[in-house]
Symmetry: C2
Subunit: 137 residues, 2 copies
């Protein structure tokens, strides 16, 4: 019971793109090298993010990926949702009416999601940026 590696890659890439000066595009080649994984695999992940609207892609020379204009509103949950889909952690196929067990599990999951929804990627990006600046000085 773990979040997939793909989610991890997606989160890292998002933060990295947010740190690009002027919101310039970065190719999948470069992004893949940073995380030491194959470009084609990362490409699949980024396509999901593109379809979800969290990044924008432009093919061709000088193309690549850049974070979308909703940059300041993208939460952790948004990214996770784009990669993992909207499946529930606990999924009993039967669904008895008024199921007590399911209620508890759903409630707990909600608590987690609320937290993930309230945390914006931009906050992390900014913190990471200021950490880097501290190291330089």
């Amino acid at each position: 019971m773990r979040y997939s590696n793909a989610t991890n890659y997606a989160l890292h890439t998002m933060v990295h793109l947010m740190l690009q000066p002027g919101g310039s595009s970065v190719g999948v080649q470069e992004l893949a090298e940073l995380q030491q994984l194959s470009p084609t695999y990362l490409s699949k992940i980024l396509t999901k993010l593109t379809k979800a609207g969290w990044i924008e892609s432009t093919p061709g020379a000088k193309g690549g990926y850049k974070v979308s204009r909703t940059k300041h509103e993208i939460s952790f949950l948004d990214v996770i949702h784009a990669i993992e889909g909207d499946t529930s952690l606990f999924d009993c196929s039967i669904h008895h009416e008024g199921c007590l067990i399911e209620n508890v599990m759903r409630q707990a999951e909600e608590n987690m999601k609320r937290e993930l929804e309230s945390k914006l990627l931009i906050e992390i990006a900014k913190e990471a940026e200021s950490q880097q600046n501290e190291e330089k000085s």
Copy 2:
């Protein structure tokens, strides 16, 4: 990203055992029929619960499983933990010091676990019992 079926089976079995009058033992055969799965498979799951201390087993004729004496203190999280292990939902193998992403994920997971820890199985069992009584009357 789902909890395993095994966890579901475990939760159901726990509630069922809590509803046994006088805390009498029930064989895996009967428990398996209730959930329509093979006795040997359920057996593996119940062994985990036994080792975790949430149920007690007695081999031999008239043996079976019964809920442990800590009956009134067993939480959802206890059972889940016994089956799923204590792995974290988000597990980056690198663990950079002071990692910001990991912090957020851990925090969110904590929120879920707190809820699962606060919910006791006995509450569900009692609710289920009173629901059954209502139906009878």
